[in-house]
Subunit: 335 residues, 2 copies
């Protein structure tokens, strides 16, 4: 096995370059890796959305569970999810890697294969990057650039009082998957997949946004209350969620029964599901839900309304009782 | 002293947001930090250059020598230097940070002040980012986006046999400064500044490129032979350097005398000076040198010619003897 140290920085870059060459180059990419910077040619009439997110070994992934192409895909999908939440079409990615010298060069090449696999469906590509040698935990820092029609981006700050709150898929599944993995490292199934191999809702976001009915969007990486609170603060609104309407998949219920846990704790806890939280005027909710069911084929459900004091989150139980939700979400630095 | 852990991720983001708000927002930035992605609006008729570079604690900076705003400036300048080497005008920066919980929140705020200080002269700004908590060495991963007129970027692959090789300033000064610091942690002066506080040659690169006389460019981050080899390989040419013409500042000579070291070892060794290595057709060399002296006010000197077998680097001594230069440069991963 050749290590990163044996192959050397430029030897490794050469192998990664080969992975990218096999992928081909989209027309807007004038110059890819191999110069001081990549050269991109934006088209007129568009805005570009740019996002960056880091995956740190031991914190965001455990090498025994996630490595190689699967790790590369996950690193890409969590960034794609941010572009999805802007309604943007992914175009270019840039990777800054922190690598230990004894890491197998083939492992890093596999990360790149994973980047390419997740970018390929969108006609996007890895256009450049940087790597540095370190001793401790390795990291993958990706920067993604996406394109969106002028003025059509889905922002966090576009929501209004009275808007419907909707969510795709089944938030909480990733947290449940992590709980299953912690109990049994060999666990598998849809919940484990939700944690290890999330898929960004890029196509769904663009299809739902195309009608111009949505008022705001955010992706779920900090947990439903945390991300809803971000959206509420940005838009200056409060939110009321209906506990009965929060979606729970059969797999989530089964995991709750197996682990003796109320599935609602996962749905409302810190869970990085990379589902989309969307808002639209209440009178357009039926059209959006119909579009999701009929055309986009994505589970979408109204789970509440924007109402009340700015930044305040309420959960309404089946019996009509109301409790306050902790809006702090998943704070990565809180002691 | 409030630590990062005490302030929390979102508390820290709020403080960093204030630093950026004080800077203002350039017209092309539709939406800065606070959403899933930043929104940029490119102008027609331009290309965008994108680069990313990581600074790792203990490897690229030692906290006892470099911290706060000075560290933020350095992180920005090394990235600006890559944009300079493309002839691009800096526009937007994105920061991914890896932070220990016990780091002072004010220290990170000072990094941001440093980012802003280095971006401000170019009308550029920090437009977004990400942070993650870690236990080991901290890192700053910056992605910079610059703008260049369509087809006018300075690439590595544009040089031809017979072209003049030129360099700005005094390569090797950063390596000498590091040697001085290693001997005496309180050392100061132009060489120490070259190591701790390099300034990217952004204005110089754009002014020299404006005449359309240059054929290729690269910035010196891996050392003169290493980066010259990159340019040669990309352009499919060889190079011959004239030892007598390699610039040595009085400070560099003095440090050589003080440390008992041939200054040429620094000039031709691994030294991250962020000077520019430029090439142009030999018949245009006089015009380029004149432009540098008269208008740009930057030290620029022809140090050799592109000649010989592709990728081969030769050093011609004063007596006409020739020796081969090791083209490997500064390989960050070689064991």
């Amino acid at each position: 096995m050749e290590t990163v140290a044996e192959v050397g920085e430029f030897g490794l870059i050469e192998r990664l370059h080969q992975v990218l060459e096999e992928e081909g180059r989209p027309p807007g990419l004038v110059l890819g890796i191999g110069d001081d910077a990549a050269l991109l040619r934006p088209s007129a009439g568009v805005e570009w959305a740019v996002t960056c997110d880091v995956l740190l070994e031991g914190r965001h992934f455990l090498p025994q569970f996630l490595r190689g192409a699967a790790l590369g895909r996950r690193a890409t999908e969590v960034n794609l999810s941010d572009l999805a939440a802007m309604g943007a079409q992914p175009r270019y990615a840039f990777a800054a890697l922190g690598l230990r010298g004894d890491t197998a060069a083939a492992e890093v090449v596999d990360w790149y294969r994973g980047f390419a696999e997740s970018l390929r469906p969108w006609g996007a590509c890895l256009a450049g990057g940087n790597m540095t040698r370190l001793e401790g935990a390795q990291f993958i820092s990706l920067t993604l650039i996406g394109e969106v029609a002028l003025g059509r981006a889905l922002r966090r700050d576009g929501a209004h009082q009275g808007d419907a709150i909707m969510v795709t898929g089944y938030p909480g599944q990733a947290a449940a998957g992590l709980a299953l993995l912690r109990r049994d490292g060999a666990a598998a199934g849809p919940l484990v997949d939700a944690h290890l191999a999330p898929r960004a809702r890029v196509a769904e976001a663009r299809a739902l946004a195309a009608g111009g009915l949505l008022s705001a969007a955010i992706d779920l990486s900090d947990g439903l209350p945390g991300d809803l609170a971000h959206l509420c603060r940005a838009s200056g609104v409060g939110a009321r969620l209906w506990a009965e309407r929060l979606p729970q998949s059969p797999a989530l219920r089964a995991a709750g029964a197996a682990l003796g846990q109320d599935p609602l704790d996962w749905v409302l806890g810190p869970s990085d599901d990379y589902e989309l939280l969307l808002t639209c005027p209440q009178e357009k909710a039926a059209a959006v839900l119909d579009c999701a069911t009929t055309w986009v084929k994505v589970p979408l459900r109204q789970i509440g309304v924007l109402d009340g004091e700015a930044g305040r989150l309420e959960l309404v139980a089946a019996d009509g009782s109301v409790r306050l939700l902790d809006p702090r979400g998943w704070d990565h630095f809180a002691a």
